[in-house]
């Protein structure tokens, strides 16, 4: 399919369009918040706290009188940054491991990597995340590491699974015959062929990362105040839910819509990039 054709197909995919629009809205909000927010999120105004949404504060104010719209914009930075870096860690370590395991199929290396993966999967992830932040103290960095670790086996498995059948293909065999080493073959021939799959999985892990960050900061283990984060906004809203429901609604919907957007985009991308499914479609 030509690039133009791919673009047309992308526009036809309802999932992709809606998903990208949702995700883009939050990305733009996050970007904008670097330069401008309606209000300063570190300034407290106890006198105007817990105000319902109005023309002055579109999303209302929180228990310290901070503007919730501004906090959601800045909070998007945190969510996106944590999730992106966590996925980056997962890919950066997981993909080479997966490639190596596939290249040395059946070897001790392969066995070690795969059993290591199983082992990481066997650990209860949230508990380990809590332990990591207990050891190193709560911070954005440690939330990233905690989420990132559990992304490694996901990408390692996916890469190995996708790479294994490729190794039996003719063009790989001819590359081997021409004397290319396994590392070079992996980088030059295998990696480009699994990229689509990685992009699709990356989008999904990205959305899971946002949910995980929200859960961690909800239990107080994410980025520290005064930097806003969606999860902590929800935690703060808990006891006020009956008198100031807007405090719970807006961050909740922010998480929901971002994750939804990314999942839809992931689905759309899979439909678009996975030829097996694309061809099967009527």
């Amino acid at each position: 399919m030509t690039e133009e054709g791919l673009f047309r197909a992308a526009l036809r995919s309802r999932n992709l369009v809606v998903g990208n629009l949702l995700a883009a809205a939050f990305a733009i909000g996050a970007l904008l918040s670097f330069f401008w927010t309606p209000y300063d999120v570190t300034e407290l105004a106890i006198a105007t706290r817990l105000q319902a949404p109005s023309g002055v504060h579109w999303f209302g104010t929180d228990h310290f009188g901070r503007d919730i719209l501004s906090m959601i914009m800045v909070g998007a930075q945190t969510s996106i940054a944590v999730a992106i870096v966590a996925v980056g860690i997962g890919m950066g370590i997981g993909v080479p491991l997966g490639l190596a395991a596939a290249a040395r199929r059946g070897s001790l290396l392969d066995e070690t990597i795969m059993r290591g993966n199983d082992l990481v999967f066997a650990f209860p992830s949230l508990l380990i995340a809590i332990m990591i932040t207990t050891v190193f103290g709560p911070s954005a960095l440690n939330a990233i590491i905690a989420i990132g670790i559990f992304n490694i086996p996901v990408f390692a498995r996916l890469t190995r699974g996708a790479a294994l059948p490729l190794w039996t293909r003719d063009y790989i065999l001819s590359a081997r015959v021409s004397g290319k080493g396994p590392v070079r073959i992996s980088v030059e021939h295998i990696l480009p062929n699994v990229t689509n799959l990685l992009i699709v999985q990356g989008t999904i892990q990205f959305s899971l990362g946002i949910l995980a960050e929200a859960a961690l900061s909800y239990v107080g283990l994410g980025v520290q105040p005064p930097t806003p984060s969606w999860g902590r906004m929800l935690a703060d809203s808990q006891t006020l839910i009956a008198i100031a429901p807007h405090m719970a609604m807006f961050p909740g919907f922010a998480i929901l819509l971002t994750v939804l957007g990314l999942n839809l985009a992931g689905d759309g991308l899979r439909d678009l990039l996975d030829p097996r499914i694309r061809n099967a479609q009527p």
Binding site: P124, L126, L127, V135, G231, L234, Q238, A248, L264, P282
Partner: protein, 315 residues
């Protein structure tokens, strides 16, 4: 098969040893002294020292590791620092809630996901399919602690159909206990059911497009007959794998939901134990959970290998 089993058993043991080392090392570096924490800010140094001695914290790390592991092997999980009763006893108490909750949530998940997934797959592209896909997307995207909060607000505080949380205990009657677990089970089941319904749908679509289904149809079976006799059974393999994963996740992963509904389950036990530095509880329970998952994986692998001999040559 025997050779494969022995080999697999070897790597199982290696995994367990590595897991125990990793867990022990994590616990070793956790800052904060259990004895100081228990005795508070007015404790005198000699009091703290006396307690450390009693808890066995003054021994060298390798001695404690060996003591811990040899205890595990003989079924002795140690004695909780804070509760001062055997960890196994505490775990059994907590499992009396976590296990039923996980089973309840998983039953709800299956009860919803199977029909919905099958319906969506058989009516692919229809309005039903589209709305199922949209709803399940929402179900996956909702943070479940937020959903739980909203349910408490509506069903416990406003409508008062359920109590807001807590667990009356099984001796208060089966129905009372089940009622107390209902909201938490729904909160846990929502994302899992959404995931499972999607897996069910795509797995069924895959099998429906396989040749033997086409053959069956060509032989004159109706779509429904083909589905029931052939497709469903084959589509269940990936579905069962997911259910296995979900069950082990539900057993330990309900921490946040247990907190929202103040249920004394296994997840909350570990969460509390971490902040109270009841390290022996943390390491033994985490080890137990890891052990359970590894064993399940091992059995699943054996089952697969038994069914499909090609897999045995993989390793």
């Amino acid at each position: 098969m025997l050779r494969y089993t022995v080999k697999r058993l070897g790597s199982l043991l290696a995994s367990l040893v590595v897991a125990s080392l990793v867990i022990f090392a994590c616990i070793e570096v956790v800052p904060g002294d259990p004895a100081s924490f228990m005795l508070g800010i007015n404790a005198q140094p000699d009091t703290v020292a006396a307690l450390r001695e009693e808890l066995g914290l003054n021994r060298a790390p390798h001695e404690r590791y060996i003591a811990w592991v040899s205890g595990l092997v003989t079924g002795d999980f140690g004695t909780s620092y804070t509760y001062r009763s055997p960890v196994s006893e505490i775990v059994v108490e907590r499992l009396a809630i976590s296990l039923p909750l996980a089973i309840y949530a998983l039953s709800l998940t299956i009860l919803v996901a199977f029909p919905v997934g099958i319906l969506a797959a058989t009516r692919r592209g229809s309005l039903t399919d589209i709305s199922v896909m949209a709803t399940t997307q929402l179900g996956v995207a909702i943070p479940n602690f937020w959903f739980a909060l909203l349910m408490v607000l509506v069903f416990a505080v406003n409508l008062r159909w359920f109590s807001a949380g807590g667990f009356p205990g099984w001796d208060e009657g089966f129905l009372a206990a089940v009622k107390a677990l209902t909201l938490p089970a729904i909160a846990l089941a929502l994302p899992q059911a959404s995931i499972l319904a999607r897996v069910m749908r795509s797995s069924l679509l895959d099998t429906l497009s396989e040749d033997y289904i086409r053959t069956a149809r060509a032989k004159g079976l109706t779509a429904r007959q083909a589905l029931r006799r052939h497709a469903l059974r084959n589509a269940l393999i990936p579905v069962l794998t997911i259910i296995g994963l979900q069950f082990s996740f539900l057993l330990a992963g309900a921490i946040i939901i247990e907190n929202v509904f103040f249920l004394p389950g296994l997840g909350r036990l570990v969460f509390q134990a971490i902040s109270q530095r009841d390290l022996i509880v943390v390491e033994s329970v985490v080890m137990l959970l890891v052990f359970a998952v590894i064993i399940v994986n091992f059995l699943v692998d054996l089952a697969y290998a038994w069914v499909d001999p090609r897999l045995r040559s993989r390793t």
